[in-house]
């Protein structure tokens, strides 16, 4: 059991993370990039057109992974917020700093692709559908995390306030998840549920799965890169950063 505690303590050390994370970052970039390349080429170029929507449905392979990932990033941020509030782990705070802007970008990507997809299929880009609205709200939550951190003058106090806001904001995630079933309007109900046979044809499922996995890996790489930048920024002026900066 000793190694678990040991890893936990090490994971809390920015310096240890920085020393060991470079191969992970590069690996996730490469794997994620290849998966996205494969999934998108397959989905956009080789999958047969859908019966009702024709070719316009192909944006699904970009839209669905982004929408899914946006929620996942928020949950990760909220868990990091809880960890920071309870154990005051420095890395948890840095993770929120690094992941919040990434989450905002992914949420905006999901919204933008949703609007583009809505114009040919629904006939209008924006509908007051529960899931559309709650995704937009998710974007505002990410924005709020970033804005609050910049508004609170002391970094330590800002970190705790942002962590608390992230934890409180997590109540929005179930609203997003179940709003589709609560008041369905135009947006289709989820096609893939754990434990059920997917309501989506297998030809479409495989490239979609590749892209979801690829998005996860690639964004994890981006977050690690952002984390590394924040660690260097935070520890600027310390001995180990100076050593790392000087070419040997």
């Amino acid at each position: 059991m000793g190694w678990i505690k040991d890893t936990f303590h090490k994971a809390g050390s920015p310096r240890w993370f920085f020393a060991g994370s470079r191969p992970w970052m590069v690996g996730l970039y490469v794997v994620g990039g290849l998966l996205i390349l494969a999934g998108s080429t397959w989905g956009l170029g080789f999958v047969p057109p859908e019966r009702y929507q024709g070719d316009s449905f192909r944006i699904l392979f970009i839209h669905a992974p982004a929408a899914h990932l946006a929620e996942a990033i928020y949950v990760a941020v909220a868990i990091a917020g809880l960890v920071f509030l309870v154990w005051r782990m420095k890395m948890a705070n840095l993770l929120i700093v690094a992941a919040a802007p990434v989450g905002l970008v992914v949420t905006v990507l999901a919204l933008a692709t949703g609007i583009i997809w809505g114009i040919p299929t629904w006939g209008k880009g924006w509908v007051w559908d529960a899931r559309t609205v709650s995704t937009l709200l998710l974007a505002f939550l990410f924005f709020g995390l970033i804005a609050l951190r910049q508004a609170v003058p002391r970094p330590e106090r800002a970190a705790r306030a942002v962590a608390l806001l992230a934890v409180v904001g997590v109540i929005n995630i179930p609203v997003i998840k179940y709003s589709v079933e609560w008041f369905t309007t135009l947006h289709q109900p989820p096609s893939i549920e754990i434990g059920k046979k997917p309501a989506i044809a297998a030809v479409f499922l495989w490239p979609l799965a590749l892209n979801v996995l690829g998005y996860y890996c690639f964004v994890a790489g981006v977050v690690i890169a952002a984390l590394r930048a924040r660690i260097v920024e935070r520890d600027a002026g310390t001995e180990w950063v100076r050593e790392w900066m000087t070419p040997s």
Binding site: G144, L148, A151, V152, N172
Partner: protein
């Protein structure tokens, strides 16, 4: 309970003795009704009243801790009140008595001005009576988080309005259904559930946020 009542009495007394401050939320609500009516000119549903009540709430709640923070009484409260949540609830109850309650009572007047009749106004009042305390509780979390930033009106609005949305949806849908005579009990029950959940959970988040704001 004593902490709750003491805090409630103190805040109401302060509000009564500084008269114009206490009237601001209601005056804002009426003025906003006027501006909206003039600007749109058409007949609006009770949803418009709900939006105005929400704006009045978010503007009012922003300053709920401001004066106490400047005086230092907030710090004393956090140090001395054990447990903290009855005092927080007392403070918010006093705040709501001067913002949410009068707006709910005056809302039929707003409905008369904007929709031209008072059809379904009793349900509108009920939804506001159940819904606005939830808004105040959720808004106070944002207000407590931003104490340290000084002037922060827009920031509080940005932080808390996403959380207001479920309350707005059910409040507006119940009062819209009431104007046409449709059943409203489901939405009213959900509003009640949201209130019960926020009364139990929000004071702890507010207490935590207040504690963070007073750290040195």
């Amino acid at each position: 309970m004593r902490l709750f009542l003491t805090q409630l009495r103190r805040d109401l007394l302060i509000a009564v003795r500084s008269r114009s401050d206490a009237a601001n939320p209601v005056v804002f609500f009426l003025l906003a009704t006027l501006v909206l009516g003039l600007g749109t000119g058409s007949e609006l549903g009770p949803g418009a009243i709900w939006v105005l009540a929400l704006f009045a709430n978010v503007l009012a709640v922003e300053g709920v801790f401001g004066r106490d923070h400047e005086e230092g009484t907030l710090e004393q409260l956090i140090v001395h009140a054990r447990p903290l949540f009855p005092a927080v609830l007392g403070k918010l109850a006093a705040h709501w008595t001067l913002s949410g309650l009068p707006i709910a009572i005056l809302s039929p007047l707003g409905a008369l001005m904007l929709q031209g009749s008072t059809a379904g106004a009793s349900i509108l009042v009920v939804t506001l009576l159940i819904g606005t305390p939830t808004l105040t509780l959720l808004g106070a979390i944002g207000a407590a988080l931003t104490i340290a930033t000084g002037r922060s009106g827009l920031l509080v609005a940005i932080l808390v309005m996403p959380f207001y949305v479920p309350v707005l949806i059910f409040g507006a849908s119940a009062s819209a259904a009431a104007t046409t005579g449709d059943p409203t009990s489901f939405a009213l029950l959900v509003l009640g559930a949201l209130l019960a959940a926020s009364v139990t959970a929000a004071p702890f988040a507010i207490g935590k946020a207040l504690a963070i704001s007073q750290e040195h």
